[in-house]
Amino acid sequence: MNRRNKQLQALSAVQFALWELHLYLDTHPDDLQALSLHEKYEVKFAKLRAAYEEDYGPLTPVAGEGISWLKDPWPWDKDGGED
């Protein structure tokens, strides 16, 4: 696995935990333990996301990013595209 994919995997793991907590909170909005866990992972995710975007370009389309948004690989490319 190349460095990009390793970073993407670490980021996706934390994002997945956040998403699972988010869905759980839809039906358990008063669960304070889940809320605080969500806050904890949010901090972690922000750091991983910033580091990834710094190296490989934006994850979401933002104005002014220009060519870096258009850069390969796209998510459906095999092995995230070889580095």
């Binding site: 980021l11 996706s12 998403w19 839809d26 934006p58 994850l59 979401t60 998510p75 459906w76």
Partner: protein, 199 residues
């Protein structure tokens, strides 16, 4: 509105193309219990959903299903990339190929194009939630059946992830159904339709 994220929810990286398997998995793209139907079902139902938790749940699960549609599309794309005409013929992929080349097209494994008849949006929370519970189980069975034909771990791994999501969504919709019935007439859940009848 939506915001796209340039990544898959779970990685898909398949070394060996396999058009036969792609044709089977295509059912989860545009087949009767596929991810396209799932996302349209939940994202359409939410407009008349009266309860805040369920508006959120339908929006969130419907959105996640769009991410699953992208994953299934990536699996099909990678399984059909770089095949020769000979390999396409041998895999029985020629019937698909003649209409779509290697393009990803929403249809069932037997070639029936996607239709909205696969889904329901009934405008009644109890009815819609039961539709969704059934939909999650039908998709889970389909993934179980796909796994019967999958001996490539590169393919089985993301398929197992998608299968597990059906189970989690089923759980959340079950909780949603409980939240909805808690707000209805406990002696008769069907005494009125909270999406339509004034009470």
């Amino acid at each position: 509105m939506w915001c796209y994220e340039k990544k898959l929810q779970y990685p898909v990286s398949i070394k060996n193309p396999n058009a036969k398997l792609a044709q089977i998995i295509a059912s989860q793209y545009g087949g009767p219990d596929g991810e396209l139907g799932a996302s349209l079902r939940y994202l359409s139902q939410r407009f008349t959903m009266p309860y805040p938790e369920l508006k959120g749940l339908l929006t969130d699960i419907g959105t996640e299903e769009l991410g699953h549609l992208e994953m299934v599309g990536a699996i099909i794309y990678q399984l059909t990339k770089g095949l020769s005409v000979e390999e396409i013929k041998k895999a029985g992929f020629d019937k698909y190929f003649v209409d779509h080349t290697a393009g990803v097209y929403p249809a069932s494994a037997s070639g029936v194009p996607f239709t909205a008849a696969y889904i329901q949006s009934k405008g009644d929370p109890i009815t819609d939630l039961h539709e969704n519970l059934a939909a999650e189980q039908k998709a889970r069975t389909t993934y179980d059946n796909i796994l019967r034909f999958t001996d490539d771990p590169d393919v089985a791994d993301p398929i197992k992830f998608l299968r597990e999501r059906e189970i989690v969504h089923y759980q959340r919709f079950g909780e949603g159904l409980r939240l909805a019935t808690d707000r209805l007439n406990a002696k008769n859940f069907y005494a009125f339709n909270p999406s339509f009848d004034k009470k």
